[in-house]
Amino acid sequence: MHRTVELRLGLLAVIITLGLLLYAASVEEERMAREATAQQACAVEVGAGLYDQHCRTCHGADGQGVGQLGPALNERHFFTQRLQEVGWAGTLEEYVSATIALGRVVATRPLYAGDGVVVMPAWSQAFGGALRPDQIRALTAFVLNWRATALGEVTLLTLEIPRVRLDDPQIIAQGQEVFVTAGCGRCHTVAGLSDGAIGPDLSRVGALAATRKADTNADQYLRESILIPNAYFVQGFEEIARENMCGGILSEEQLDMLTAFLLSLH
């Protein structure tokens, strides 16, 4: 190539390069903002998966809380009052990530379970938990993303998918199996199945459950009683219940099955 042509091309390239850099600089603010948004969105996506894996058992699939096991996160109180309630000086984000990382050795509010035992475990790997720092950041982003629904700014479309039908004979039969294998019969009597005498007789619990607590239907009452045995004491069993905590651990599916079984006892 002729040298002058080449030099002109080179000079042109320098000018184009400067133009490109000027262009890049002019849209950089916007690009960085987009990138930050995308990173935040990605953190929420990752956090959602982690929540399903580690948190939903105690805080509920939609952050609605599970009885006295874990407080609701998807509610107004959590976003507006919690920091004052526990006297936290920092931001809610710091509070959430600190709580996930460190856990709770004792209940901070008397409402929730945990009488002298660890309530929420420390999740940070630094303190023997399962989560890396980036995972805790992602989970925090996910939990804080409930703000809009918690404050009632938006209502989500729900897709009602009953996991099981509680009157399904097959589920009831599986629930009976859970009752036996989980050792419920050691304390509770179910006519024809077990003769445990420490806890209340459950032979007719399906009929009684709805009458035990006001504002609580049979299904809710049974689930709560299984998850948190001392949430309600049947008359005459107060002391026994305190001394004989049920240590059984059920999966969500097993909980459904067992509830179905108990509901069928009339």
Partner: protein
């Protein structure tokens, strides 16, 4: 002290300054000589300071005074060595920039890259250029080697130059490999885990080699720091050292070789004489190189701004192996070899043998002739070698020798863990909340984008069923709204014969592409009244 007493001191400084100005020179060219050059006058002194500038100045001394005309056509060398060095310098410049922001610890590495791309002006461009230039540099090194082999420029006095070139190849691959780990994402972590896993297969000292490389049995804090230091200190230092030797031998000792026909062909004498004419480095070659550099730089910046994005997958997770773990592309051939057999033989001895073969090439090939027609065997073997490396590279990818169940492949195409799947391409608002059943949902009721994806999924499953892969298959797609701007998509595929269904859960955030401009309210699709078979089938 009275101020006038400072006057002599001031005057003496002034005098010194004047003296310095008078004798100021760059590379031996002082003011008078510069003036003579600009006025087109003969040199002011003898020997000419213009010549001395070459001989005495270190910076100019690095380059030869002239090239032989026959070796300068673009189509002879394609400037591949030049471009390699160009990309190497680009790596140093962008690398220094990245070093300012990068933190080599597992806790902070990924975060620092995120910070770089979202909060540092032009940070993403710098990272893109660094990554792109690295890959381009490897390509240039390989092509440079092929060119040198084809034109037989590694013979005679240039044998040792070839050896230093292969050493530079090894160092370049090392630089690429060590840099691969630093973003600390899934891609990096698992590629390097695969890449270093061969070290264990080294007999006798395998465990030690592995420990030295990784700093612990698994790559972690120590391993990352080691790779980082190798990447920014050890290997660049070695590269500059060996590059010095390599370039000294090319430029100062033997010059760039002439094309074989000019050296040993039967071309007429005038042509061969013309080929030996000198092309002065300044200005001819220098200006040519400057033009090349500015054009190349312009192209690289344009590509990185508009086309190329350095990949960044999810944060490294030692507990979770991705579906496809592949070595970096320039080491896929080793992974391909590993699929052929024994880890020690294929992962250690064969690669070592290949590099030894490359090192020893000029000493094995005793044929002094350079013309293509005089070295058919060497060229045949060389071609076979390149083809074989290409085949091994292909075999290293997940397309070869990895059996994957059909449902997993479908899941991977629709909802991959990393990157973009078919479900990701559907606009957020078109992901209508609902439950969709195989061969029962009418695509006509769905937005076109979702309908297309759903129809494609049904076709894919039907095709697999027709092949006998998925007999009596069923599938469900659930789209739920989980939080504001966050949807959960569950894809469940099963066959009637098996108890457990394949399930893939995907979360999609409205702003995952960073685009915050869309704010339409989502629509609902009618939920079918019957909730039978597929949903109640237990999933794993």
């Amino acid at each position: 002290m009275r101020s006038w007493k400072l006057l002599p001191l001031f005057l003496s400084h002034l005098h010194d300054g004047w003296y310095a100005l008078k004798h100021l020179s760059f590379a031996g060219i002082n003011f008078q000589e510069l003036r003579a050059i600009l006025q087109d006058e003969p040199p002011t002194r003898h020997p000419s300071p213009r010549l001395l500038a070459h001989v005495l100045s270190f910076l100019l001394h690095m380059r030869p005074r002239y090239y032989l005309k026959g070796s300068t056509p673009f189509t002879y060398t394609f400037r591949l060595g030049y471009f390699t060095v160009f990309f190497f310098f680009l790596e140093i410049v962008t690398g220094l920039f990245l070093m300012v922001y990068y933190v080599p610890t597992p806790e902070k590495a990924y975060l620092s890259i995120q910070h770089l791309t979202s909060s540092v002006p032009l940070g993403a461009l710098m990272r893109d250029i660094h990554r792109f230039a690295a890959e381009a540099m490897i390509v240039c090194v390989l092509l440079h080697m092929v060119r040198t082999f084809v034109t037989a420029s590694y013979k005679g006095v240039r044998r040792l130059t070839w050896v230093t070139g292969v050493a530079l190849l090894v160092i370049t691959l090392g630089l690429g490999f060590s840099g691969y780990l630093l973003p600390w994402d899934q891609l990096a972590y698992w590629a390097i885990t695969i890449g270093t896993s061969m070290a264990e297969a080294v007999p006798l000292i395998g465990r030690e080699v592995n420990l030295i490389l990784r700093g612990a049995p698994e790559i972690g804090e120590a391993g990352l720091l080691r790779f980082y230091l190798a990447h920014v200190v050890l290997l660049p230092f070695l590269a500059i050292l060996v590059l010095g030797v390599h370039y000294y031998r090319v430029a100062r000792l033997h010059n760039i070789s002439l094309p074989p026909p000019l050296e040993e062909g039967d071309l007429p004498a005038p042509i061969r004489e013309e080929a030996r004419q000198r092309v002065p480095f300044i200005p001819d070659v220098l200006f040519h190189e400057m033009a090349l550099a500015s054009i190349a730089l312009c192209s690289v910046i344009a590509i990185c701004l508009f086309v190329y994005d350095a990949p960044l997958e999810h944060h490294a997770d030692p507990q979770h192996t991705p579906l496809h773990t592949e070595a970096p592309w320039f080491f896929l051939w080793v992974q391909g070899l590993l699929k052929l057999g024994d880890k020690q033989l294929m992962g250690v001895w064969v690669p070592i043998g290949i590099f030894l073969l490359l090192f020893a090439l000029p000493y094995l090939d005793r044929n002094p002739r350079r013309l293509v027609r005089h070295r058919p065997l060497a060229l045949l073997l060389g071609t076979l070698f390149i083809l074989a490396m290409g085949v091994f590279t292909y075999m290293g990818t997940h397309y070869y020798g990895i059996e994957m169940p059909t449902v997993v492949r479908i899941g991977q195409d629709w909802a991959p863990e990393e990157g973009v799947g078919i479900l990701h391409t559907i606009p957020y608002d078109d992901l209508v909340v609902g439950a969709y059943f195989f061969n029962r949902t009418d695509p006509g009721t769905l937005p076109p984008t979702l309908a297309r994806a759903w129809t494609a999924l049904e076709e894919r499953i039907n095709a697999a069923a027709a092949r006998g892969d998925l007999p009596d298959a069923w599938a469900v797609l659930l789209i739920e709204e989980r939080q504001r701007d966050l949807k959960r998509i569950t894809l469940r595929i099963g066959t009637s014969g098996e108890d457990s269904a394949y399930e893939r859960v995907l979360y999609i955030h409205r702003w995952r592409n960073g685009d915050t401009s869309s704010f339409a309210s989502p629509a609902v699709s009618p939920i079918p009244s019957s909730w039978d078979s597929p949903l109640s089938t237990p999933s794993h």
